[in-house]
Amino acid sequence: MMSDLTNLTITEARDLLAKGEASSKELTEAHIGAMESARSLNAFITETPEKALAMAEASDVRRKAGTAGLLEGLPIGMKDLFCTEGVLTTAASHILDGFHPTYESTVSQNLWNAGAVMLGKTNLDEFAMGSSNMTSHYGGVESPWRKAGDNRPLVPGGSSGGSAAAVAARCALGATGTDTGGSIRQPAAFCGIVGMKPTYGRCSRWGIVAFASSLDQAGPMTRTVRDSASMLRAMAGYDAKDSTSVNAPVPDYEAAMTGNIKGMKIGIPKEYRVDGMPTEIDALWLKGIKWLEEAGAEMVEISLPHTRYALPTYYIIAPAEASSNLARYDGVRYGLREEGATLDEMYEATRGKGFGAEVLRRILMGTYVLSAGYYDAYYNKARKVRSLIAGDFAKAYQKVDAILPPTAPSAAFGMGDKMDDPIAMYLLDVFTVPASLAGLPGISIPAGLSQDGLPLGLQLLGKAFDEETVFKVAGVLEEAAGFDAKPAFLAA
């Protein structure tokens, strides 16, 4: 019974509860059991089983009263980058030791308002900076997947690695992620699940620990495209507390999934055929093209000529914004404090002790590119190139409705690999960063397996605020791919 309940999709669980065939309490208890049985993955930093049960019981009461929300009674994981009132919030950093927010992030509040139940706070790269989940102060997350015939632990990707692993291993029906340069889409691809980064401005950033404010966006991580559509609908919406939140109605994304993409134009960007791309990624991409053609869409070759400059641009802009955002960790207002004789010494000691290696590297990079004499050469240059990259997409979208690239240039790798070469790690985001810089929506769906038996993802990018088209095409791609492989480890 337990694994029956944890194997459901969000849509199936929603119907089951609506029909009264199970209660939220039963569904939540099954998932708490699953979460506890999967502790070896280290997917959660904090488990909140008591809160989950209390929320589930309250949900069952609401359902009886006839006031069920969009995600009524469904247990989910919350990336530990969202502030949750009274519940430890760490951003996977030592510097936020003991931080219990006195407020709730807008996105998590929206989910609770829709009836969702919180299982716990999921692990991530420290301050969401990383592509492997290995930079967490609370230790790396182990992917539930294994290469065929090889039991060595693999990374789940990052930064939303705990959310991806928890959803793939059936510990949670869905989980929140945040995506700054690929942190939802790349771990979704590595773990064989669906990860959606909506348009910048679609979800409020209020109460999310800030990394790079012009790029950060929250989004859902689920096992199907339909689940993604229903979860995003609950997360999104205008919020006066985020000045970049867009005041536009949130559509019923599920309703957009008509399955009919006949005559739609899908862009295939020639610049995404990068040097040294593994043949299995290329082969999967060609399959994706064939699937969409068979469904009646028309493929159009497009050019995004500044693609190769996206990563270096990102690695100026994101660290610059991070160095500014992370100035708030000063040992005064929250978290860790290391004593010093003067105020400055206290700041330096606290920050020296509290930040991990990758975060330190990015703070120093960001401080450097913003410092006097380099501001124009680096930061302003990057902002200009960012305009060119956004312009490439704007031009392409005059001709096409959506764009189909792969999600990542490889399948998951071993825990501890690539750690000594920051640039090799940065290159994992080569296909996800351009859309982040342009603020566009993108989804990764599991589309096939590598020769080693690991999941590979295909990505669909849409026009700004046209998540509906993204979901519509993604639904067709998902059905054609028929991905039904399961990870080696399943919680039960």
Partner: protein
């Protein structure tokens, strides 16, 4: 552009973060590598290109200039490593 140990010390000071002497050499090398890789942007002609200020074209909303929140210093300082009488406490700043 290459970064030396002294530059690392200078930017660490600007960022108010203590870096162990023994790590400065390695950090200088890492930052130099990353900057070398970033350098490829210089081959792009960006004359006349407007730097991006907002990724979604929008006007920042205005609100009435009045106090709408506050009055709970205990809540604000609840997470402070050291607080007293509704204030944050820090090492002595003025002699």
């Amino acid at each position: 552009m290459s970064v030396d140990k002294e530059t690392v010390a200078k930017i660490a000071r600007l960022a108010r973060v203590r870096v162990d002497e023994s790590h400065k050499e390695a950090l200088a090398k890492e930052l130099s590598n990353i900057l070398g890789w970033i350098e490829q942007l210089s081959e792009l002609d960006t004359d006349g290109v407007e730097p991006m200020t907002s990724v979604v074209s929008m006007t920042l909303p205005l609100r009435e200039d009045k106090v709408t929140d506050g009055g709970y210093p205990d809540k604000v300082t609840a997470n402070a490593p050291e607080a007293a009488h509704g204030f944050y406490a820090v090492p002595k700043v003025v002699e």
